[in-house]
């Protein structure tokens, strides 16, 4: 089930809210139980046959946590932690990477049969969340959760279950047992949820239609104009899709009294790739920073080792996104860029004019998304060739005109909302006393968005979530 569906909006969410708030606040345990049941139902709805994988993951990590919590020597604790990590990664490997490895071994001459496995939805997200719990308990930055229901709630909580953000156990451990609910928080949750819904349904889906058509046509040859339009559309799609989903998750979290950390911070206004990764999918990059990069030595080691660490982290980041060579190369692409920036480009970039730095970062990000979006490395190379066919710039491609006419509103909205210009304008107008009732305007916007979302959902059944495959 996706948040941006009528069944979620008008069946699941009202039922969930009704059951949750029917229980008086003093029965927090019962509320948690309802939230857990609804989360399991949410997952079962989308993945009925493989719900046991998630239950297995919960059980395994619960036992690991309990074992780590005992009074054991450090060596034993370390062994338990390693076993737990290996167990989590084994599940992930089996469902997500096994066939990739077999395919590549077969390409090298082996003749192994492919496994008949289907990847459970959201496995990358819930595995990483579960691992963060075990690792935090091992590091003693989080207390052991003795209530398996509460741990299950942390791992399965439906707002962030299938597409993040990757919530760290230590961030919400207290809220699981004791959280407050207020009209203010609930109302903020509504606003945030509807903003995310609008980003996903009204912008990302439209950009997705453009990108899908153009990328599908790329094998047959694209003009340079169309190739760029496709790349830009996908750049918008992935941001509004993913950040929209994160907004919805954060908003839903607030409705149930949870505070999830921000996952995006206007990444496309970055002036370097380093800055981009501080603004994009923050929960994933900080996860890798804290659980891989820093344990490897981080930046507090010799330059070759730092470079090695960066490459390991980004190789894993790429691989986390999918079992394809394109994702691996995409990770390495960012590793190379980050190494270059860290050791060579930092000073020249600082001296460069601001617009040039923006253009530098944005062009590299767009180029990265092409690799990310293409189904194969050869497809990506072909696409890059089409994007670089600047000799044909003067031969206009009228199809671009069609896309701009058909999706012009969405392109303008996407460009505007990729920047903080609206919130800056709002602050400016408020400070000058021009905008008298910002809260009222904001509330009206929420219903305006909701209305158009329902219209759009009725109009179209095109509603795929990009991040489901991760």
């Amino acid at each position: 089930m996706v948040f941006s569906s009528l069944v979620f909006l008008f069946l699941f969410l009202p039922v969930c809210l009704a059951l949750y708030y029917a229980v008086p606040g003093r029965f927090a345990g019962l509320r948690n139980f309802i939230l857990l049941c609804m989360s399991l139902a949410f997952y079962f709805y989308g993945e009925p046959r493989l719900v046991w994988v998630m239950l297995l993951s919960i059980l395994m990590n619960y036992i690991s946590g309990r074992l780590l919590g005992g009074d054991r020597p450090q060596g034993a604790r370390r062994a338990i932690m390693v076993l737990s990590v290996v167990g989590n990664l084994s599940i992930l490997f089996f469902f997500k990477y096994c066939n990739f490895v077999i395919e590549n071994l077969n390409a090298l001459g082996a003749s192994l049969p492919l496994l008949n496995v289907v990847m459970p939805i959201g496995i990358s997200f819930f595995t990483f969340q579960a691992m963060s719990y075990v690792l935090d308990v091992y590091r003693k930055t989080a207390a052991v959760q003795r209530n398996i229901g509460y741990l299950a709630l942390y791992i399965t909580m439906f707002p962030q279950l299938i597409a993040g953000p990757i919530v760290r156990y230590s961030d919400i451990a207290l809220e699981i047992t004791a959280r407050t609910h207020s009209l203010r928080q609930f109302s903020q949750g509504i606003t945030r949820f509807c903003h995310g819904l609008g980003k996903k349904v009204l912008i990302a889906n439209a950009m997705g239609l453009v990108a899908d058509e153009i990328f599908a046509a790329s094998a047959g040859g694209l003009s340079v104009h169309l190739a760029w339009l496709g790349a830009i559309s996908y750049t918008f799609q992935i941001y509004f899709d993913f950040s929209g989903y994160s907004d919805m998750a954060i908003g839903l979290g607030k409705m149930f009294g949870f505070t999830f950390l921000e996952n995006f911070n206007f990444p496309y206004i970055s002036r370097s790739i380093t800055e981009f990764w501080r603004r994009w999918h923050i929960s994933l990059s900080t996860w890798f920073r804290d659980y891989v990069y820093i344990p490897l030595g981080g930046s507090r080691c010799a330059r070759p080792r730092q470079i090695f660490n960066l490459f390991v982290v980004w190789l894993l980041t790429g691989f986390w996104h999918g079992a394809e060579w394109t994702f691996l190369l995409w990770g390495l692409y960012y590793a190379a860029l980050l190494v270059l920036e860290k050791f060579f480009l930092q000073k020249p970039l600082e001296k460069a004019p601001r617009f040039l730095r923006h253009a530098y970062a944005l062009l590299l990000v767009i180029a990265g998304w092409v690799l990310f979006r293409c189904d194969s490395v050869s497809g990506a190379l072909l696409y890059y060739r089409q994007m670089a066919d600047f000799g044909a710039l003067l031969a206009p491609d009228l199809r671009v005109l069609y896309y701009l006419r058909e999706y012009g509103v969405q392109f303008v909205l996407a460009a505007l909302l990729s920047t903080p210009v609206l919130s800056m304008a709002r602050k400016f107008l408020e400070s000058r006393g021009i905008l008298r009732f910002p809260a009222l305007l904001s509330a009206l916007c929420v219903f305006f968005i909701l209305f158009f979302v329902v219209l759009s959902l009725l109009q179209s059944s095109y509603n795929p979530f990009i991040y489901f495959r991760f």
């Binding site: 009528l6 069944v7 008008f10 009202p14 809210l17 009925p48 046959r49 069609y402 929420v446 219903f447």
Partner: protein
């Protein structure tokens, strides 16, 4: 006296919390009221404007749940039966049409002159294999018709988008190149194989306006009548004498309801147009009896219920229709084809003793060869529109 900063802040705070309360209440109202109204509102079984059946509430079974089929069906059901779905969809279309002025809405290209279908950029041109297959199929049919003592006449009708290809915006594919290439090769192949044909594009190309509407993919009754005259001329010249009912004996009359073309139907009839649906009256009526799928029906070629759409002609697509005029001195005709035959049949029967019509999308009692063997018509009129010349789907698949 101006309020103090703290006082203003308190007022603001009070206002904001009030707005929050209203926002929350309204959001919850929407969230809870829509499903309740959806559950208790009467359920339609079909969507007229979408021209399809609406989803039924899915049956619960463990197999359906575990396969995910139940969930998909449930989503489709909710989407199909959401409270005020049709008015909302109509509003969305109106916004697209009048506010956003989108060039393409629901796969319909909206231009000042007409509504046209959206075509793929990479629409295939001539497919030599498909041409060879279709030519062989038609040669086989021609042989079978002649073996049964009849003559085959292939009639190609241009679709509205074909004659109005110039109305497409320059930035969209109008499909003209692919159509022309296929048309030339196809009729060339028919000639080479000695199959008689009429290409109505030759007739309609220069002056299509009277024969087509802006909003429907078919020709109108005037186009069908012009096709009838061409068929009668050809049959008389090439096969045997046939008397056409001329314009002096037939009066076209516009219907008194606005016409809803097939493409405008997808837009909830919101595209402004001056399209007219025609009927006709004869100065000397010809008595006949009619059977649809073997059952006797009212002796009319006009529908009593679909008076604002193309369904008005013959009551839409029917597997087998038989019209007997009991004039044994006239030949018998068998018409094969899609909906383009419907308007044609309303006038074609005027020149034949018996006119039978088969639509193999809805008829499977016999193959065309079995039917020919049993019926042995004098002439077989095989009608295809120009977007289907090489298609082996539906009536293009004659076995």
């Amino acid at each position: 006296m101006a309020p103090s900063t703290k006082q203003r802040e308190r007022e603001d705070a009070a206002g904001i919390s009030g707005i929050r309360a209203v926002q929350t209440a309204l959001f919850l109202l929407v969230l809870f009221l829509i499903p309740v109204l959806t559950i208790f509102s009467p359920k339609e079984t079909t969507s007229y404007y979408e021209n399809r059946s609406l989803a039924e509430f899915p049956a619960l079974s463990s197999e359906a749940v575990l396969s995910g089929g139940y969930m998909s069906a449930l989503e489709q059901y909710i989407s199909d039966h959401l409270f005020k779905r049709e008015p909302l969809l109509r509003l969305a279309t109106r916004l697209d049409l009048e506010l956003f002025r989108l060039p393409v809405i629901s796969d319909v290209v909206v231009t000042d002159k007409a509504l046209l279908p959206m075509l793929a950029w990479d629409e295939a041109g001539l497919a030599p294999d498909a041409l060879a297959t279709m030519t062989a199929s038609l040669a086989k049919l021609n042989g079978a018709v002649e073996a049964a003592g009849g003559r085959l006449l292939y009639v190609g009708i241009p679709q509205q988008r074909s004659v109005m290809r110039a109305a497409y915006p320059a930035y969209l594919n109008n499909g003209g190149a692919a159509l022309s290439e296929t048309e030339a090769a196809f009729f060339g192949a028919l000639s080479e194989n000695g199959i008689a044909y009429i290409n109505m594009l030759d007739v309609f190309w220069e002056n299509y306006a009277p024969y087509y509407t802006a909003t429907d993919h078919h020709y109108n009754l005037l186009g069908a009548y012009e096709t009838y005259l061409q068929i009668a001329d050809y049959v008389s010249e090439a096969f045997f004498p046939v008397q056409a009912v001329g314009p002096e004996s037939l009066t076209f009359a516009p219907m008194d309801v606005s016409f809803l073309g097939s493409r405008n139907r997808k837009l909830f009839g919101l595209y402004p147009n001056g399209d007219i649906l025609y009927g006709y009256t004869l100065s000397e009526p010809i008595e006949f009896d009619r059977w649809d799928n073997g059952e006797p029906v009212e002796s009319t070629v006009f529908s009593s219920w679909g008076k604002n759409t193309y369904v008005y002609y013959m009551g839409g697509d029917i597997g087998e229709t038989i019209i007997r005029t009991y004039r044994d001195d006239l030949p018998n005709a068998l018409v094969i084809g899609d909906s383009f035959t419907n308007a044609l049949e309303t006038v074609l029967y005027l020149s034949f003793n018996e006119t039978r019509s088969l639509d193999f999308r809805h008829y499977d009692a016999q193959t065309v060869y079995e039917y020919l063997e049993a019926y042995r018509p004098d002439v077989v009129i095989y009608v295809r529109d120009d977007t289907s010349y090489l298609s082996t789907d539906g009536n293009g698949n004659l076995g």
